[in-house]
């Protein structure tokens, strides 16, 4: 295979393409500052993210990083600081998809806005960070990548400098982000203290060694033994969970999400709630499966870390859905619903067991991919509504289907898919999560599965409320024909089509996800 003859670092091509695009945008802005050539800027960003997507898909198809006979196996770069495997490429794909959609949609959204080039380059930088999170294989690179995605995000949320909502959202996002990253670093330092290493595989080795010592009753002699420092390790792991919870908008660090999503420009809300969340999950997946092998870690710290995720999953999905059900503001409802979805995906980690769990984890991965389309699409519809200036509440959205049936069909698809109504992509991933949880079969997972069903049923209420608003309710004000911004429409329609097309095309997705999950868990 020709691919094998490329040097190893080319495995990072999807990430490099993203960062290259960001740099190119900076250069464009340097060459002609304050450019409002929206076609050029949005085009560059879209082309870059599509190229990244294409390369990632090609790598997956060609078997880069996969564990098959023909494949290269996981490619470790820079002494294992980065790793390119199925998981990494899969999540890079999700990030690239969302970035492309957001870039296209922003073409119309950014009409008459200043800071266009900055906007796109920040988006690309954040995407780079997220893609790097997917490949990161050491707590160092994970933290750096996390910050690389967070810092541009803070700026993006508050990029509407004269909009008080945007600024407030940016502030709150930043405050909680800074707090959680401080906690995350402290957690890293404790894990490092307990294990003496920051590379995930090395941490795992130390922990396994420590658990052998515990099991064998060997007196820890060197004084460096991890077994002595179980408490430190446990506290560190707990703090790491805090960091992930922030990135994925899970309880207890979810407070920023409704504020940030509501105040931010809608394409950015889409970007954060889809791509950023996926990236948060990929590091959670990787860290907990690679660095803290369940059995050995349990020996050392005395409690299974899956419990943390069981509790987080249930609480997060319940909090998200109940809060969403009480909202009057569409964007805020979507924000809370995205918290609820974080809860669903957390099942993927709660279901990890000593000898498996790849089924439920791959289901979580699939859910994130579908979510990348449907949630992005939903937020882009909000962007469209903001573009039209129709207001923010459910009532304001009343009767939009009269004027814009195509977009409203797309919205219907997103909503029902988010709710997990069967004909759409969202149903599959939710179903797989459900059956995956059942197959694990422990009591805790049964409770989780039950919570999933109850919450899905509840979520249907508020999702259908939005569909009802646009399709059934009468408009509260007479409105003239609405404009049809081409790019926004294109992005929404593509997202809708993909949400539907994923239904027949779920086979390859499921295969890729299962393989990737099996690889990291195995």
């Amino acid at each position: 295979m020709a691919l094998l003859e490329l040097p190893e670092w080319t495995a990072l091509a999807p990430v490099l393409l993203l960062v290259g695009t960001a740099m190119a945008l900076f250069l464009i802005d340097s060459i002609s500052p304050r450019s409002t050539n929206r076609a050029l800027l949005a085009g560059t960003a879209t082309a870059g993210s599509l190229a990244s997507l294409g390369v990632a898909a090609w790598f997956i198809a060609a078997g880069v990083g996969a564990t098959g006979v023909e494949s290269t196996g996981a490619i470790e770069l820079f002494d294992g600081q980065l790793v390119v495997d199925g998981l990494a490429l899969y999540f890079t794909m999700i990030v690239a998809i969302v970035t492309a959609l957001v870039s296209v949609a922003s073409y119309d959204y950014l009409q008459d806005h200043t800071y266009q080039a900055e906007y796109y380059s920040l988006v690309m930088l954040a995407a780079t960070g997220m893609a790097t999170m997917a490949t990161a294989n050491s707590l160092v690179t994970i933290f750096i990548a996390m910050e690389l995605s967070s810092l541009p995000s803070y700026a993006l949320v508050s990029i509407l400098k004269d909009n008080r909502g945007s600024v407030e959202a940016g502030l709150k996002y930043f405050l909680i982000g800074a707090l959680s990253s401080a906690i995350f670093v402290y957690g890293i330092s404790l894990v490092y203290g307990a294990t003496g290493s920051l590379q995930l595989d090395a941490i795992a080795n130390v922990i396994v060694g420590g658990s052998d010592a515990v099991a064998g009753g060997i007196e820890p002699g060197s004084g460096h033994d991890v077994a002595e420092l179980g408490g430190l390790l446990g506290l560190g792991i707990l703090m790491l969970v805090g960091g992930f919870a922030f990135k994925t908008a899970s309880v207890p660090f979810h407070f920023w999400a409704p504020e940030a999503y509501e105040g931010a420009p809608a394409p950015i809300s889409a970007f954060l709630s889809s791509a950023s969340k996926a990236a948060g999950f990929v590091i959670a997946f990787r860290v907990f499966t690679t660095a803290f092998p369940l059995e050995a870690t349990t020996e050392v710290i005395g409690i299974e870390w899956t419990w943390a995720f069981v509790i987080l999953a249930i609480v997060t999905m319940t909090v998200g859905n109940f809060a969403a059900a009480t909202q009057d503001n569409v964007k805020r409802m979507l924000a809370y619903s995205s918290i609820g979805h974080a809860g669903y995906v957390l099942i993927g980690l709660a279901g990890v067991t000593a000898d498996g769990g790849e089924v439920v984890m791959s289901a979580a991965m699939m859910h994130l991919l579908v979510y990348g389309f449907m949630n992005t699409g939903a937020f882009l519809f909000v962007a469209l509504a903001e573009h039209w200036g129709v207001g923010r509440t459910f009532e304001d959205y009343g009767g939009l289907a009269n004027r814009a049936p195509v977009a409203c069909v797309a919205l219907g698809i997103f909503m029902f898919s988010l709710a997990g109504v069967p004909p759409l992509g969202g149903f599959w991933s939710k179903y797989f999560l459900f059956t995956g949880a059942l197959q694990v079969g422990t009591t805790a997972m049964l409770v989780v599965a039950a919570a999933l069903v109850v919450n899905s049923a509840l979520s249907l209420y508020y999702y259908s409320r939005l569909v009802k608003a646009v399709w059934i309710e009468e408009p509260i004000v007479e409105r003239d024909a609405l404009t049809q911004p081409t790019a926004l429409y294109a992005a929404i329609v593509v997202a809708a089509v993909m949400t539907v097309v994923l239904l027949p095309a779920f086979g390859p997705v499921a295969d890729t996800a299962s393989e990737a999950a099996a690889a990291v868990l195995g």
């Binding site: 109504v421 209420y461 259908s464 779920f506 499921a510």
Partner: protein, 509 residues
């Protein structure tokens, strides 16, 4: 590939209609819908299958394509037709075409969206009846809800929002219950089952039933799943006490939606009961025969009583559907060839008759703008053709011989009365038959008040003849009703052929 073509034509047609201009949408949808109607008739003519699709039958137009693999289970695109599903497919396509024609008059806003949704419903209804993989089936099953929800919600009557939500929530919760329990069942079946193909699951069930799951023993699990699925489908059918969504939905829905709702959507419930509960759980059918029969009889009587108390024509027809579906359940639980076959026949027959009734009521409403029995009388003077058909339909409902209703109800009673499977069948059957008397009572009462007597209606315009395109579909339906009443073997033969294997597993042939 014929089935795929059928589905694809309706789906593409739905999309095309959706974006077509409002002006031509109705005619366009009609032309498009002729294609599946013709195709399904051709399928009917070319049908060469035998036996039951789930029980090693010889399927017609079968096709199976690998779809995806999740964990240990494969999911595939698996469709085919047998004697039970084919009549329902034909019913669906014809009824859709007629419903489209009958909406030309009442629907006057957002037409393209309306007709697009109608065609989309047709797609999914066909899918429900042809799918033989549980997942595929469930996808179509649920996909019916969304367009129906919108049809009621957007084009319905004054309380349409309430009705739409109620319809959606009831049926969706029911689906969730059913879905969850069935998945648990499949897991409970253990390693032998490696896909969600219904025939494979059915044979595993009949071979020994589930091993147990989540701490439940095999038998317990089967019972729990049986009950849960029965409840899930019962909402859709609907049977008392899960029927409360139905009158609201029917009354508020626009006429064409009511036609499809009563004509086909209710049949999804009984069809699913037949396919799942009565095919896969013969032991449980036996064990729960008495309560189910009791529910059936209660539905018959209670539905009829409720209808008697109504003054809204549409509400009367709606409640009478509850009553009619009670007969179907009774026929199924009898578990005899006549009973189950008759029930299946009754599904088709009731689809035609209730469709006809709703259309007729719709035509009357178009002209009078009221459906209240108390508001009008002597309509026969002004619109004799439409009223004549309304009366004919009512007689079909009452089970007049030479109309399809008679054959359906007769075979059901015949089958259930002689059933040895069903305890106290000699008690249940006469009780249910008493329902016919009530039906006759309320229908005749209502007709007498509205149709006959001196003309009275407070309007500021002249009520005249209904337009031809409103009346023509009703003639087609009436023709079909009489055809089936005169020559029930047109479909009854293939129905019994498909039903026999089911009975052979538990009932009495």
């Amino acid at each position: 590939m014929m089935i795929e073509t059928l589905i694809a034509v309706t789906l593409v047609g739905a999309l095309v209609t959706f974006v077509a201009p409002n002006r031509i949408a109705g005619k366009l949808a009609f032309l498009i819908s002729l294609v599946p109607a013709g195709l399904s008739l051709w399928l009917f003519a070319a049908f060469d299958g035998s036996g039951n699709a789930l029980l090693d039958g010889d399927l017609a137009f079968e096709s199976q394509v690998e779809w995806l693999q999740f964990g240990d289970y494969a999911i595939s695109w698996f469709v085919g037709l047998d004697g039970i599903s084919l009549p329902l497919v034909v019913l669906t396509t014809i009824l859709t075409t007629l419903a489209i024609v009958s909406s030309w008059t009442p629907i006057d806003e957002r037409e393209s969206q309306f007709y697009g949704l109608l065609l989309f419903i047709e797609t999914n209804l066909i899918g429900v009846f042809v799918a033989l993989d549980f997942f595929l089936w469930f996808v179509f099953w649920e996909a019916v809800l969304i367009p129906m929800y919108l049809l009621i919600g957007v084009w319905g009557g004054p309380r349409r929002k309430y009705a739409a939500i109620k319809f959606f929530v009831y049926t969706n919760v029911a689906s969730l219950v059913m879905f969850g329990s069935f998945v648990a069942l499949v897991f409970g079946l253990g390693d032998e089952v490696t896909s969600f193909a219904l025939p494979e699951i059915a044979s595993a069930m009949l071979a020994g039933g589930p091993e147990g799951f989540l701490g439940l023993g095999g038998t317990t699990l089967a019972s729990v799943v049986f009950v849960a699925m029965f409840l899930g489908f019962a909402v859709k059918v609907p049977v008392v006490p899960f029927h409360t969504w139905l009158p609201d939905a029917h009354v508020e829905a626009p006429t064409p939606a009511s036609v499809l709702l009563a004509g086909v959507l209710l049949k999804m419930g009984t069809y699913a009961l037949l396919r799942f509960n009565f095919t896969m759980f013969p032991d449980q059918v036996e064990a729960y025969a008495v309560p189910i029969a009791a529910i059936a009889v209660i539905s018959v009587i209670y539905g009829a009583m409720l209808a008697l108390a109504q003054t809204d024509l549409k509400r009367i027809v709606a409640y009478s559907s509850v009553s009619s579906m009670g007969y179907v359940i009774l026929g199924l639980i009898a578990y005899t060839q006549w009973g189950v076959g008759g029930a299946t026949f009754q599904m088709v027959s009731h689809g035609l008759i209730s469709g006809l009734m709703f259309m007729a009521v719709g035509v009357v409403y178009n002209a009078t703008h009221t459906r209240m029995v108390t508001d009008m009388s002597g309509l026969a003077d002004r619109m004799p053709v439409a009223v004549g058909i309304l009366v004919a339909g009512a007689f079909g409902y009452m089970g007049l011989p030479l109309m399809s209703g008679f054959f359906g109800e007769f075979t059901i009673f015949f089958g259930s009365f002689g059933s040895e499977q069903l305890p106290y069948s000699q008690v249940f059957t006469p009780l249910a038959m008493f329902g016919i008397v009530i039906v006759a009572g309320y229908l005749l009462f209502a007709l007498q008040r509205t149709v006959f007597g001196p003309y009275h209606l407070e309007t500021d315009y002249e009520v005249g003849h209904a337009p031809l395109h409103d009346v023509a579909p009703m003639f087609v339906l009436l023709g079909l009703i009489i055809l089936l009443g005169v020559a029930p073997d047109v479909i009854f033969e293939m129905i019994t052929d498909a039903v026999d294997p089911i009975i052979a597993n538990g009932g009495e042939l």
